[in-house]
């Protein structure tokens, strides 16, 4: 800290120490480790529960699945594809959860986004696929604007507005699909192929490796330059070791993912490469992380979720922030819907929007986003979505009937919420 070092006022310092996030006081790795341990004991474990959950789920399913098929490259790529939908839904849900609201309609809104895009790339309108995607997202954004305005301007409870939305968009979805009851994207025209290959198109292995190197290099440079800038201007920067560990972690995770995807997983014909959906998910993750953590709008989202009255008195237009939160939530849901459409090869009236909502909430909360507003990161959706995806995938591999999948997912959600409530209680006591 750059201020005067001699405290001249008597206050209780010790009470607050345990709850301070490690990077802001620790100067060395040892110190970092000790403050981190103290904080975990204090009830705020950060990403620890979700990482443990992910490891536990992986170990259990690897042991239980026939021939340990869970960890096979083929299944892992499948798991990434399945998780992508939950992850992106959780990114969207994150916006409203940060505001202390909830969006129960996101499942069917996502479905509508996917359906609009899919219908526009059908042979008759044959709209170029980028326009079709934009149209799908625009429809979802409009739905978000409508629901967000009802919540923010008319002060209607988000729970009720989006519960009504759940029914309305479910009905609209069936109307859109008409008598055919479905719309496919497995056709042969370029525009349909583009949507389909989001999940079933693969990046050339060499390009994937180059992309990974470029990505890690940019990530490292940004992190490194920020630290150097802070040190130069006399501010506290995280220890060098921590920054290097972060960069290393991202590099290793990237290498593992690319390596797995580059193993031939085809039975008859060779299937090799990273599915396009993985960089798409990463792009959404990066964009929303920058928006929430580096831009004014994001700061105002956290402030509104943490203390709406304080935000209002600080001159923040709380109504606009809340409305925009719902717009971004629904629009991100639309991205998930298009991924889902690609994964299923089309959309039908069988889409279970209710289950998608629960998985989205579960993924965000398991990742560490609070249901009570103000706490959470976009990254939480990624980690939580992987846990949900792994459970979904693993239970399927075990051949457990749907009733057990539902029960187990519900129990995991309960466990995640109890961690959230527990850490909130501990923070309140501090």
């Amino acid at each position: 800290m750059s201020g005067p070092s001699a405290p001249d006022l008597a206050t209780d310092l010790t009470a607050a120490v345990d709850a301070v996030p490690p990077p802001i006081i620790a100067q060395t790795m040892g110190e970092y480790w000790r403050t981190w341990l103290a904080r975990v004991r204090g009830g705020d474990a950060g990403a620890l529960p979700v990482v443990i959950a992910l490891l536990a789920v992986t170990i259990v399913f690897t042991i239980l699945s026939p021939n340990h098929v869970f960890l096979s490259p083929e299944n892992l790529v499948n798991l990434f594809d399945q998780s992508a939908v939950f992850i992106v839904l959780a990114f969207g849900m994150g916006f409203v959860l940060l505001l202390g609201d909830i969006d129960l309609s996101i499942g069917y809104v996502a479905a509508i986004g996917g359906i609009v895009t899919a219908q526009l790339v059908q042979p008759t309108p044959n709209v170029p696929w980028p326009l079709a995607v934009l149209a799908g997202l625009a429809v979802c954004a409009l739905i978000g604007l409508l629901q967000g305005s009802l919540v923010a301007r008319l002060r209607m409870p988000a729970f009720v507005v989006t519960l009504a939305g759940y029914l309305i968009w479910f009905g609209v979805m069936i109307l859109l699909l008409g008598t055919a009851g479905g719309v496919g994207v497995t056709g042969s025209q370029t525009n349909q192929q583009a949507i389909y290959s989001l999940v079933y198109g693969y990046i050339d292995p060499v390009i994937a490796w180059i992309g990974l190197v470029v990505f890690v290099a940019i990530f490292a440079t940004v992190l490194w330059r920020r630290d150097i800038g802070r040190r130069r201007s006399g501010l506290v920067a995280p220890p060098l070791g921590l920054t290097m560990a972060k960069i290393l972690l991202v590099a290793i995770a990237g290498i593992i993912v690319v390596a797995i995807c580059n193993v031939n997983r085809g039975r008859d014909l060779p299937i090799v490469g990273v599915p396009y959906v993985i960089p798409v998910v990463l792009l959404v993750l990066l964009a929303w992380t920058v928006l929430l953590e580096r831009m004014q709008f994001g700061r105002h989202v956290y402030a509104t979720g943490g203390n709406t009255e304080a935000a209002r008195r600080a001159g923040i237009n709380v109504t606009t922030v809340r409305t925009m939160g719902f717009v971004l939530c629904s629009m991100t849901g639309g991205i998930a819907g298009i991924i889902y459409c690609s994964q299923l090869g089309g959309m039908t009236t069988n889409i279970n929007g209710g289950q998608l909502v629960l998985y989205a909430v579960a993924a965000a909360v398991i990742g560490g986003t609070s249901l009570f507003g103000g706490r959470g990161r976009v990254m939480d959706g990624l980690l939580g979505g992987l846990v949900i995806g792994a459970i979904y995938n693993g239970l399927y591999l075990l051949g457990l009937p749907i009733q057990w999948q539902l029960i187990i997912t519900g129990l995991v959600l309960l466990a995640a919420v109890s961690v959230d409530s527990f850490s909130r209680k501990r923070t309140a006591h501090a």
Partner: protein
């Protein structure tokens, strides 16, 4: 920070037939209220209230529950607009219709609930709603340096890091952050609503020292307080409201605890405290 550069020697002007109980001031005060009235439906909250808030002085606003302290404070802060009366700021007549008007003049209020977002850190709270940007991104380093400087000037040095969430701070530290947030914006008048109400002994000490430091920086400070110990500890002047009327406004040296309690409860005091200026009870 505003220094004591007011027009020295300007005789205190009192509106004709008004301002009973107002001790004459040597100079034009930073903020002068004359005949402020406010009615909410059937309830008359303020009756022709006069109040002077001079620079580099702490004025304590006392009064029992329902005396109109909050309404008066919110009138100055731009939350309520008065029905009648004049407000002059630095000698010029002004109207304060919205909180933004008050901020633009340099009036900041620290309410009892402090209006801090617990999930944000100290820097984020201090700059909330007025973030410094570089392009489209937040300029965190610039904000952090400025926040550290303000806290150092106020000698709030007990926080471990200005990047810790406000939720992890003690009550006194939270109050200090709320005050630092208020004085950060070239404010000239800071109003504090019950700043020590929820604090322990050591924390109260810290906040009272902080209030004295604001005064030393040349700010006008108004402290709303029930706690007469605190009032007599930090205040230079005392203004007492009773049932919407200003019943006394005087230098602290002309009052003692009993006389303030008399004013708060009955509106008059027969006690005579020897001092340089004498206050007159309301006629």
């Amino acid at each position: 920070m505003e220094s004591m550069t007011g027009p020295m020697g300007v005789p205190a002007r009192t509106a004709p037939g008004r301002a009973p109980g107002t001790a004459p001031l040597d100079e034009e005060p930073l903020l002068r209220l004359r005949g402020i009235s406010k009615r909410f439906g059937a309830v008359q909250a303020l009756y022709g209230v006069d109040l002077d808030l001079p620079r580099a002085k702490v004025t304590a606003l006392c009064g029992d529950n329902g005396a109109g302290k909050s309404v008066l404070t919110k009138t100055i802060a731009g939350i309520h607009e008065p029905d009648h009366g004049q407000i002059s700021w630095e000698g010029r007549p002004v109207t304060i219709r919205t909180p933004n008007d008050a901020s633009a003049l340099g009036i900041e209020t620290v309410y009892q609930d402090l209006a801090l977002a617990d999930n944000l850190d100290i820097v984020q709270n201090m700059f909330l709603g007025r973030e410094r940007m570089s392009g489209i991104f937040l300029n965190e380093d610039s904000m952090e340096r400025a926040a550290a400087q303000t806290l150092a000037e106020l000698r709030v040095t007990t926080v471990r890091s200005i990047r810790q969430p406000v939720a992890t701070l003690s009550g006194g530290q939270r109050q200090a952050v709320a005050v630092a947030k208020a004085v950060m914006w070239n404010s000239k008048l800071v109003m504090l609503d019950e700043p020590t109400a929820a604090l322990g002994v050591a924390q109260t000490r810290m906040v009272l020292d902080l209030i004295k430091r604001l005064k030393d920086h040349g700010l006008a400070v108004m402290v709303i307080s029930h706690n007469l110990n605190d009032v007599f500890e930090v205040a230079d002047r005392v203004a007492v409201l009773r049932l919407g009327r200003m019943v006394a406004q005087a230098d602290i040296s002309t009052l003692d605890r009993e006389s303030v309690v008399d004013y708060m409860t009955t509106g008059v005091s027969s006690r005579v405290v020897p001092g340089p200026t004498s206050q007159r009870p309301e006629a």
